[in-house]
C-alpha cells in the first residue's frame, strides 16, 4: 500500500516543480548582497514603474560568492542582462573580456562627463567603457558630539590632522566608562583600505602597485602614518576588542555611542538613524579623513558599478537602464531623496542635500576620493591572508621595526603583482 502512495507524492511534487523552470522574458539583474540594497531596490522600482513592458527582476547573490558565480554564469552562457558588482572587481572582468562594451552607446551622453570619476575609471579598460556607477560609498570621518562635549572639546570642530585625532581621542578615552577615542578594525582588510588607506593617501603615500612595474607602499610619510597608528593602539585609544573585528560589527561601532572619532562610510549615517537616534539627531559631525598636515584630505570611493555581461540578450534595454539611473530626475528623486550620494557630481546640489549639510559633506568627499585600479585587488588588499592586512596587523600589535614591516609588505605585493 505504501508504494503507490509514494509514487503519487513523487509525481505531484514533480508537477509542482516543473513550472518553476519556465523562463520569463523580463530583464534579469544580479547584484551582490550586502551592498546598498535599499538604493538598488529603489532604482529597480523606479525603472519598473516607468517601463512596465520591460521590467527588471532583481536577484541578490550572496556577497562572498559573487565572483565565482559570475565567472561560472559567463562560462555556461546563462548570464543575467545586468550585473551590479563591487567596482573594485571591474578591471578584472574587463580584462577577461567578459563584459559588453558600451562606449558607443554613451558617445553623446552628457551625463557621463560628471559621473563619479572613481567609478568611471574602473569601468574603463583600454579606453573602452564597460559600466556606469550604480551607487557610491565614500569614506569620511565621523565624530560623536556628545562625547566631545563630555570631554570638554568643542563639539562643532572635528579633527583636521592625524595629530588632532590623537589629541582629541586621548581626551575622550580619559572619560573612561568604556569610551574610546578612535576605532580601527584589526582583522578586516576591506575596512582598513576604506578608512585607513585614505589617511596614507592624504599624507602623500601610496599603497597598491598598479602593475608589476609599479613600486608599492611609497611616500616619505608612510612610516609616520604607520607609527601614528601604532601609537594609537599602544596608548589604548582604540578599544582592544578591535583585534578580533573582522568587519561583521564594524558598522555598529560608531552607533554604540562609545567611540569618539571613527573613519567610516556614508552608509553609517543611514544605519545610525535606526541604531542610535539620539546620536543621529544633530550629534554626529562629519568631516574628511585627514593626513599628517592640516588641509590635506582623502577618501576611498567604493560602491558598485552596473555592467552588462557578454551574452546578455537585452543589451539595448540594459543600456537604457544605465542611462536611466544617470538621468537628472533619478539622481535627485531616487538617490538624493533616499539620502544616498548622487553618482553625478553636478547633481550634489539639490533640495534634499541642502536640507542636511552632513550628506552634503559626504557628497563633496567624492571629489577628493580615489579608487585603486588594479587587476589583483583581492590578492593585494582584500584577502584576509593578503599583504595589506598582514602589514597592518604587525604595525598595530607587534613591536617589529616599521621599516622592516614596510620592506616585507613591498616584497609581498611585488611578488603578487608579478604573478
Amino acid at each position: 500500500m505504501r508504494l503507490p502512495k509514494l509514487i503519487t507524492v513523487a509525481l505531484a511534487a514533480l508537477l509542482v516543480a516543473m513550472p518553476l523552470g519556465a523562463v520569463a522574458e523580463d530583464l534579469q539583474m544580479w547584484e551582490r548582497s550586502g551592498g546598498n540594497a535599499s538604493m538598488v531596490d529603489e532604482l529597480v522600482r523606479a525603472w519598473n514603474e516607468a517601463n512596465p513592458d520591460r521590467k527588471i527582476v532583481l536577484t541578490y547573490i550572496p556577497h562572498s560568492e559573487m565572483v565565482p558565480k559570475i565567472a561560472q554564469a559567463i562560462a555556461s552562457g546563462e548570464v543575467p542582462d545586468l550585473m551590479g558588482m563591487d567596482l573594485i572587481y571591474g578591471p578584472q572582468f574587463e580584462d577577461a573580456g567578459q563584459l559588453e562594451d558600451v562606449t558607443d552607446y554613451f558617445k553623446d551622453d552628457p551625463t557621463l562627463k560628471t559621473a563619479s570619476p572613481g567609478h568611471i575609471q574602473v569601468a574603463t579598460y583600454k579606453d573602452r567603457l564597460y559600466g556606469v556607477p550604480l551607487y557610491a560609498d565614500v569614506s569620511v570621518l565621523f565624530w560623536n558630539k556628545l562625547l566631545f562635549k563630555q570631554a570638554g572639546l568643542d563639539p562643532e570642530v572635528g579633527p583636521a590632522s592625524l595629530q588632532d585625532i590623537h589629541d582629541m581621542a586621548a581626551k575622550i578615552t580619559a572619560l573612561g566608562d568604556g569610551n574610546y577615542g578612535y576605532y580601527l578594525a584589526g582583522n578586516c582588510a576591506g575596512c582598513n583600505i576604506f578608512t585607513f588607506g585614505p589617511l596614507i593617501w592624504a599624507s602623500g603615500g601610496t599603497i597598491e602597485p598598479k602593475d608589476a612595474a609599479d613600486e608599492p607602499l611609497t611616500g616619505d610619510n608612510l612610516v609616520k602614518v604607520l607609527e601614528w597608528a601604532r601609537m594609537m593602539h599602544k596608548e589604548g585609544l582604540i578599544n582592544p576588542a578591535n583585534q578580533a573585528e573582522n568587519g561583521e560589527t564594524f558598522h555598529l561601532q560608531f552607533g554604540s555611542g562609545k567611540v569618539g572619532i571613527m573613519g567610516t562610510g556614508n552608509f553609517n549615517l543611514f544605519l545610525l538613524k535606526e541604531q542610535n537616534a539620539a546620536l543621529f539627531d544633530g550629534n554626529v559631525g562629519i568631516t574628511f579623513l585627514p593626513g599628517l598636515e592640516k588641509g590635506k584630505v582623502a577618501s576611498f570611493a567604493g560602491g558598485d558599478i552596473v555592467t552588462i555581461p557578454k551574452g546578455s540578450k537585452h543589451v539595448k534595454d540594459a543600456v537604457d537602464f544605465m542611462k536611466f539611473i544617470l538621468s537628472d530626475n533619478v539622481q535627485v528623486e531616487s538617490y538624493a531623496k533616499l539620502m544616498n550620494l548622487t553618482t553625478r557630481a553636478d547633481m550634489a546640489k539639490n533640495k534634499y542635500f541642502e536640507a542636511d549639510p552632513r550628506v552634503q559633506k559626504m557628497a563633496e568627499a567624492l571629489d577628493v576620493a580615489r579608487t585603486p585600479y588594479t587587476l589583483k585587488f583581492f590578492e593585494l588588499i582584500n584577502s584576509p591572508q593578503g599583504p595589506w592586512l598582514q602589514m597592518l596587523q604587525r604595525v598595530y600589535y607587534s613591536d617589529d621595526p616599521i621599516d622592516q614591516i614596510i620592506a616585507d609588505g613591498k616584497a609581498q605585493m611585488k611578488a603578487i603583482a608579478a604573478e
Partner: protein, 299 residues
C-alpha cells in the same frame, strides 16, 4: 562483600546493569548533574540564538551585545519575512526540493537495495562497492560539469534539477542503509510468500517494505536534512531569486554593508526558522529513526 562482588561482576559482563546500578545508588545525582551539564552545553547556542532573534533592531545591533533581550520584538522576523520575494517563497522552494529529493532517494534506493540484497546477481558485491565509491568523490568537484549539463537540459533554476543533485549526494549512504536492512529480513519470510505464489514485486511490497520501514525513515530523514541545509549546489544551480532556497537567502540577507557588516538580528531569526523543520521532523520520526540506525548497522 560477596554481594558487592557479584554486582561488580554482573556490571562488567552486562553494561545495562551497570547503568541500572549507578542509577539505583547515590551516584545518580552525579550522573544527573553530568547529563544536565551536557544538555546545557548542547542547548546554549540554540537558546542564545533564539533569544537574540527576539531582540529589537536597536538591541540586536548593540556593541557589546546584550546577553538576553531586554524587550521582546519580532522586528528581525518581519525584516526576514519581507526580504525580496518573501520568506514563504524560499521556505516553499526548500520544502519542495527536500520532498522531491526524499521521493527520488527512496524510489531509487529501495529498489536497488532490494535487488542487491536478494537477487543472485553475478558480481553484486563488486557492484555494491562500486556504487559506494561515489562517497569518496567530493560532489563540489562535480558541480560545474553538472551545471553545464543541466543548463542544456533546462534543469537549472528548477527545483527538480536541484533535487536531483541532492538525491545524488545522498544515494551512496542511503543505498548502504537500505541494502543492509533488506539483508536483515529473514529469508524464510520471502520463501513463505513465494510458496504462496507471490512474485518478486509482491514479495517486496507485501513482505519486505513493512519490515524495512525504519530504514526508509532513516533514509528519508537524512535526505531531508541534507537537502534542507545544502548551500553550494543551490548557489550554483539557481540564478533567480524566486528560485532560491532558504540557505541562499539566509546568506544573502545577513550582509548589511559592503565591508561585510552583519545584521545579527536577522541572521539569528533565520537560524531559528531554519532549525524548526529539522527539529519537528526529528521529533516526529525519532522512534523509527533510532530503530532504523540499528536495523541498518546490525545484520
Amino acid at each position: 562483600m560477596s554481594a558487592d562482588l557479584s554486582i561488580a561482576m554482573r556490571a562488567e559482563t552486562r553494561p545495562r546493569n551497570l547503568i541500572a546500578t549507578l542509577w539505583a545508588s547515590r551516584a545518580k545525582y552525579l550522573v544527573g548533574a553530568l547529563l544536565i551539564v551536557i544538555c546545557v552545553v548542547m542547548l546554549l547556542p540554540l537558546v542564545a540564538s533564539v533569544l537574540a532573534s527576539l531582540k529589537s533592531t536597536t538591541e540586536a545591533a548593540a556593541v557589546p551585545p546584550t546577553y538576553y533581550p531586554h524587550g521582546l520584538s519580532v522586528d528581525s522576523y518581519v525584516r526576514l519575512w519581507d526580504y525580496q520575494a518573501g520568506l514563504q517563497v524560499y521556505v516553499g522552494n526548500s520544502l519542495a526540493t527536500a520532498a522531491i529529493a526524499i521521493a527520488l532517494t527512496l524510489g531509487l534506493t529501495v529498489t536497488a537495495g532490494y535487488a542487491l540484497a536478494r537477487f543472485p546477481l553475478p558480481g553484486k558485491e563488486a557492484l555494491f562497492v562500486f556504487l559506494l565509491l561515489a562517497l569518496i568523490i567530493p560532489y563540489q568537484a562535480l558541480l560545474t560539469p553538472i551545471f553545464l549539463m543541466f543548463a542544456q537540459l533546462k534543469l537549472t533554476n528548477s527545483v527538480l534539477g536541484l533535487a536531483i543533485i541532492h538525491t545524488a549526494i545522498q544515494l551512496p549512504f542511503s543505498l548502504y542503509v537500505m541494502r543492509n536492512s533488506f539483508e536483515a529480513v529473514p529469508k524464510d519470510l520471502e520463501e513463505a510468500a513465494v510458496v504462496d505464489g507471490a512474485n518478486s514485486l509482491q514479495a517486496l511490497v507485501l513482505i519486505y517494505l513493512p519490515s524495512v520501514v525504519p530504514a526508509m525513515v532513516t533514509v528519508a530523514l537524512f535526505a531531508f536534512i541534507t537537502s534542507w541545509n545544502e548551500f553550494l549546489g543551490a548557489l550554483v544551480m539557481m540564478n533567480r531569486q524566486d528560485t532560491f532556497t532558504l540557505p541562499l537567502i539566509l546568506s544573502a540577507a545577513r550582509t548589511q554593508t559592503s565591508i561585510g557588516g552583519t545584521d545579527w538580528g536577522m541572521l539569528q531569526a533565520g537560524v531559528t526558522i531554519s532549525v524548526i523543520p529539522c527539529i519537528a521532523v526529528y521529533l516526529l520520526l525519532q522512534k523509527y529513526y533510532v530503530a532504523g540506525l540499528l536495523s541498518g548497522a546490525v545484520k
